[in-house]
């Protein structure tokens, strides 16, 4: 998509945000909602501004954990997808366990991860990794399998080795599917980082949300929610932009 088309599509979306905030503000004031239930957005924004170094640190920490886990999950997912596509036996041996691993909610062993890896960045990145590698592995495999056999055959008639076929044909062909999975993985990684922080952490959005809840600081809680949402959107936008740059072509059928 070219720049004017993107702008034409983005403009209404960007206009909707202040409209929603205004509606929220007007409702809270007009209906005299207690700030203990739902504070006005102006109050929330003022809170964020007043403690912006603390909030910036929280966003930075959580984003760092999530991105670390997402990058590791993407690399591991692509690598295992490639290995599964190359060696049927590996796929038969390990793919069922990949599926099973996703059936166990992370909550079940979040505590163990904190006890093993401490309450720093590593444990959260690990949980983010755990949640994000699976869709990437599956979509890499599906993307590689989706390359028609005749197309692989054509490259073989050019004398291409399996590695050349992987690098010149199969991986590029799988890129759109891989990006779709990374987008999904990004929101999962963010959830993973925050859940990890709930199990034990000193900083991060999860810590902000949890302390606000325990201390019943409603404005502070809403600030955390708003920032978490914005972080998720930012992550999504960055990956979507990467996808448009790197895997921009339409999949041919």
């Amino acid at each position: 998509m070219d720049a004017p088309a993107v702008r034409a599509r983005l403009l209404p979306q960007l206009l909707a945000l202040p409209a929603l905030l205004l509606l929220w503000e007007a409702s809270v004031r007009g209906l005299a909602v207690s700030p203990d239930k739902l504070p006005a957005p102006s109050t929330v924004l003022a809170t964020i501004w007043a403690a912006h170094t603390i909030f910036a640190q929280a966003v930075g920490t959580t984003l760092y954990e999530a991105v670390l886990g997402l990058v590791a999950g993407t690399l591991f997912g692509v690598a295992s997808g490639v290995l599964f596509s190359r060696f049927r036996l590996l796929e038969r041996m390990f793919l069922p366990y990949f599926v099973a691993s996703q059936a166990v909610p992370i909550i079940a062993f979040g505590a163990i991860i904190i006890l093993w890896f401490g309450n720093g960045v590593v444990s959260k990145a690990l949980i983010a990794f755990y949640l994000s590698f699976f869709p990437v592995a599956v979509n890499t495999l599906v993307g590689i399998h989706g390359v028609p056999a005749e197309q692989v055959g054509l490259l073989r008639t050019f004398g291409a080795s399996p590695l050349t076929i992987l690098l010149r044909l199969q991986l590029p062909a799988a890129l759109p599917a891989i990006f779709t999975a990374v987008r999904l993985g990004a929101s999962l990684a963010l959830v993973g980082a925050i859940v990890g922080e709930w199990f034990g952490a000193t900083r991060g959005l999860g810590v902000v949300l949890l302390t606000a809840m325990y201390e019943y600081r409603m404005t502070y809680l809403w600030a955390g929610i708003l920032l978490t949402g914005l972080t998720g959107v930012a992550l999504f936008v960055v990956i979507a932009a990467l996808q448009r740059r790197i895997a921009w072509w339409q999949v041919e059928t």
């Binding site: 028609p148 005749e150 197309q151 055959g153 054509l154 490259l155 073989r156 008639t157 050019f158 004398g159 291409a160 050349t164 010149r168 044909l169 590029p172 062909a173 890129l175 895997a247 072509w249 339409q250 999949v251 041919e252």
Partner: protein, 282 residues
Amino acid sequence: MHPESGGSVATPKIRLQHVSKRFASGPAAVPTLHNVDLSIHEGDFVTLIGPSGCGKSTLFNILVGLVPPDEGGALFIDGKQERPDHLLGRVAFMPQRDMLLPWRTVLDNAILAAEIDGVARAEARERARRSLDRFGLNGFEHYYPGQLSGGMRQRVALMRTFMFDREIMLLDEPFGALDALTRALMQRWLLEVWEGARRTVLFITHDIEEAIFLGDRVLVMSARPGHIKLDIPVRLPRPRSPDVVTSPEFVAIKRDLLSAVEDESMKAFAAMNRAVVEQAGG
């Protein structure tokens, strides 16, 4: 007619001897190819026609090394017997679908085979730029396949095949999906390109006129199990003009071919019906 009645004493570029292929096993399975014998001389343009499902594409897959023939057959290139798996990378193959890579530009699609063959990318691109004009792609080098018409995509695929510098070229119905007008233009253009860079060509088509117009020889394949049923030389002078199709010799060849192809098509049709009845009954 015996396939080696060409009369030439030179070693054929390609020779197939009793090449057969049976995919499914068991006594009921009809072989796809049965005792294909065939010789093609260097620099010849040979066209191959036959009914649907007669094994033309299987024959091509054997010739490029993607499918091994059954035991007992032999394949010679320049008189030397070749192991089937040694044929990969030896023959320039253009499949029915262009199979261009959507993420590569026209130029980079054209150099794909050469690049895989080990030509440095910059050098391959330079060589491709010089050929753009000949393939009617001038000014389109930075376009992506998704932006091209069917005829142009086919020319990019042909360019890729020509740039994979091999003495033997196999073209599997390259113009099958094009409309009649584009097809006629592409045929004349292909002959021009071929006369500029003479290769041994084997060209599959469904179209009898196309087969005569392009070929030095037309081979007719039988219905399954496929073998070479007819081998007709085309002694029309080259370069051939479009109105050659109305010459008496062209028409005479066409008459022979029509009846042969129709015979085989009827057989193929009957066999298909039998298979359907058997399936319904069994």
